[in-house]
């Protein structure tokens, strides 16, 4: 079988070493599939020439959907005809990336029949990426996906496939049901996910606590991060066990608290909870002894994105604390008000974060009908260029 592959001396180097080799994966797929063989050939060529061979994608897709397929053509179709089309399908993953082997096998079967047999498990937004097929195979693939209830994910100027950490499924720190919320929002916004109608993309990510294991604060337009607002739960015996077990509680825990709100007198750990910043560090270090409080919910933040065009952004706080209970109506109402304003006034290719930067947080808040509160800023303004909105006129006692 090996001689069926094109010669790939450079790629072969990447089959050495301990980390799983993507070259080996391609070869595994190539064994049964001509697409894989051409991909090996084209990639080897890229390695030799130090340049990619993919052209700007055209618009291809599946009937009734405005996104979810990334069109791709190579620039040497005569030499690599099996991948002259090589489109990617983004398939909405199940929340938390949990699978039964049965479901996975069905996906494999479909992709064996209709595509390259290559995937990304998963794409960096979270989708199952079915990597490489022809225009003709798109509809048939979707047809089969329907039967196993896997739907298409987002691409283009729409809601992108939401993702979440495993949360309450496996983590003791989850302050809300991330998987439940992720599923709920995904279902609620099917239309927005599948039919691009925004100025640009809009991503939701759900993390169960401030450790933020789906990097939502860096990578989503709306970041929903688990939070508690009462006292950290403490198990004194467990603290003693850690101390007896040799943990240097002063150095490892107390001195690393960014709020400087902990104290360890050698016997007892105290936390001045009203100063706690909810950073998670102490809980991370002593999972048996400390836990988030019982009054749990989430912090909602807005606006993260990669640098293009106005520079990278992190999300910033819009709601410091909200209870997370289905159907999450308050958050959805807020989201929709945000979309309305952004769709109305946002520029083409302007992410919501950039939009806020351009119009100013104060004006944005007014437009979405949210009161400004100090939790939204790291600190108040430093420059004195304040747009006071009213002034007194000589003739009246009232403000203008």
């Amino acid at each position: 079988m090996a001689d069926a592959y094109p010669k790939t001396p450079m790629l072969d180097e990447l089959e050495k070493g301990k980390w799983p080799s993507f070259v080996t994966e391609i070869k595994m797929a190539a064994a049964d599939n001509p697409m894989g063989k051409d991909l090996l050939g084209l990639l080897e060529r890229s390695y030799r020439e130090k340049i990619g061979h993919w052209k700007h994608g055209g618009i291809v897709g599946v009937m009734g959907y405005g996104g979810g397929v990334i069109g791709r053509y190579n620039d040497l179709p005569d030499e690599y005809p099996n991948i002259s089309h090589f489109h990617t399908m983004r398939i909405n993953q199940p929340a938390g990336w949990f699978y039964t082997t049965e479901a996975l096998r069905k996906i494999c079967d479909i992709w064996e029949k209709h595509g390259s047999g290559l995937t990304n498990m998963h794409g960096s937004t979270g989708d199952i990426i079915l990597l490489g097929t022809t225009t003709d195979e798109l509809e048939p693939t979707f047809d089969e996906l329907q039967k196993i209830n896997f739907d298409i994910g987002g691409s283009g100027s729409d809601v992108r496939t939401p993702s979440c950490c495993c949360g309450q499924a496996r983590c003791e720190w989850a302050c809300y049901d991330t998987m439940g919320a992720c599923y709920d929002f995904t279902m609620a916004y099917q239309d927005e996910l599948h039919r691009p109608a925004f100025p640009y993309k809009f991503k939701f990510k759900f993390s169960g606590c401030p450790n933020d294991c789906v990097a939502s604060i860096a990578r989503s337009d709306m970041s929903i991060i688990g939070m508690w607002r009462d006292d950290i739960q403490m198990d004194k015996d467990a603290i003693k066990e850690y101390a007896d077990g040799g943990m240097d509680i002063k150095a490892d825990v107390v001195d690393n608290c960014p709020a400087k709100c902990m104290d360890w007198n050698g016997k007892e750990l105290t936390i001045e909870n009203s100063y706690c910043r909810h950073c998670m560090h102490c809980i991370n270090v002593m999972p048996k002894a400390l836990a988030p409080g019982k009054d749990r919910g989430a912090t909602i933040l807005l606006g993260a994105k990669a640098p293009i065009v106005e520079g990278a952004l992190l999300s910033s706080v819009i709601i410091p604390f909200i209870k997370m209970e289905p159907p999450y109506q308050e958050i959805k109402d807020l989201t929709e008000r945000i979309w309305d304003v952004w769709c109305e006034e946002g520029k083409n290719r302007e992410r919501v974060g950039e939009f806020i930067q351009r119009v100013g947080l104060g004006n944005f808040l007014e437009a979405i009908e949210v009161e400004p509160i100090p939790e939204m800023v790291a600190h108040p303004r430093e420059n004195p260029y304040v747009f006071y909105e009213e002034y007194f006129e000589e003739d009246d006692g009232s403000e203008d």
């Binding site: 390695y47 990619g52 933020d212």
Partner: protein, 360 residues
């Protein structure tokens, strides 16, 4: 068998996750009490009910064949009652309630070529993007650089011998699909030459006003060249972001002579201790040197080891550098400081050193 006349559905969404959760998770959903890392790549979560869930995390190259997925399925059927999951960094996790299955599973995984690790104070898989496998925008490959780098760092994946977590991400162009902007170490593909303009195609393929508008530095201007309505680029104003190319395919920017990789340091996402931080430029340019990018992998290894040897416990890369200061970091790492390091974008002034907090 595909039934040609079944009702065509849309917008039914992903399958509900409930059906994919192993019974122990369903029973203990939201009831986990604490976890312990048993050894590299293996942890146990203990429920308030007393139930114990064991997780084995195996490395994945992310680009996965259906053959490999089926092999995972075989293992999950054998040891985990047919359940498995993937992580937000694309590793594969096997979940089980039977502790005795851990060792045989690990043995099988290793046999298959999948190292176990990435949990705790270790380096996990590199979040990355398409590169020359699938994207038109790439300034470098993704999977190859990742593979070469992880081969070099494998001991830090398979062990927990670092001061804290270390997260690496790669993006093959400034679009940064890998969201590398907040990583302990970011590997970023970069162009360094202005787009070449196919003047005969611009007007046909692109909206000229959109193209001009796309450039963050206003370097792109409408112009008639060789009789074609097209655009021109003021080269000194171009910083190679490729945004014009994203908008207009007639302006290819990839260039084998000048494309390469830059290395960025000290970002983080979690709120643990320090607030989230952006990564900062450490090495402005390293050449694309396939198949194993030795300049890149050795630069990264040096940085990892410098951090490992000098950081305090729990101190992420960025926290460490913030404590000692960047001048010290440049001194210790031997990386040359250049004009490129000095910010000159919108908020540049805020990055100047506005104090006498200096080390010698």
């Amino acid at each position: 068998m595909a039934d040609a006349v079944h009702e065509r559905r849309t917008d039914y969404g992903p399958p509900h996750h409930d059906q994919f959760l192993p019974p122990i998770i369903k029973e203990n959903y939201g009831k986990w009490k604490y976890h312990e890392v048993l050894k590299p790549g293996v942890m146990v979560h203990v429920s308030h009910s007393g139930a114990k869930l064991f997780t084995v995390r195996a490395a994945s190259g992310r680009l996965t064949s259906i053959q490999k997925i089926r092999m995972y399925c075989d293992l999950a059927d054998k040891y985990c009652d047919g359940y498995l999951r993937f992580t937000s960094r694309h590793n594969v996790e096997f979940l089980m309630d039977k502790q005795e299955n851990i060792e045989p599973l690990i043995a099988d995984l290793k046999e298959m070529g999948h190292p176990i690790g990435g949990i705790g104070n270790s380096i996990s898989a590199i979040v990355h993007t398409q590169g020359w496998i699938h994207c038109h925008s790439a300034a470098t490959d993704a999977s190859g650089v990742v593979k070469a780098t992880m081969d070099e760092l494998i001991e830090y994946f398979e062990n927990m011998i670092l001061p804290g977590k270390l997260r690496i991400a790669l993006a093959c162009c400034l679009n940064m699909c890998g969201a590398v902007h907040c990583s302990d170490i970011a590997i970023l593909g970069i162009h360094r030459r202005p787009p070449k303009i196919m003047h005969d195609k611009v007007k046909k393929m692109c909206e000229i006003p959109n193209v001009s508008a796309s450039c963050p530095t206003a370097a792109v201007r409408p112009a008639t060249v060789d009789g074609f309505e097209s655009v021109e680029i003021i080269e000194e104003q171009c910083m190679f972001c490729a945004n014009c190319f994203t908008v207009c395919p007639a302006m290819p920017i990839a260039d084998p002579l000048n494309d390469g990789i830059s290395i960025w340091l000290g970002g983080k996402v979690s709120n643990a201790r320090h607030e989230p931080m952006f990564s900062k430029l450490a090495i402005p340019f390293l050449p694309n040197n396939p198949p194993r990018w030795p300049e890149v992998t050795s630069a990264i290894k040096n940085i990892v080891e410098l951090w490992a040897a000098n950081a305090n416990k729990y101190e992420r890369m960025g926290e460490w550098i913030e404590r000692i200061g960047w001048p010290k970091f440049f001194k210790m790492s031997g990386i040359e400081f250049q004009k490129e390091h000095v910010d000159d974008f919108k908020h540049a002034g805020l990055t100047y050193k506005r104090s006498t907090h200096i080390t010698f």
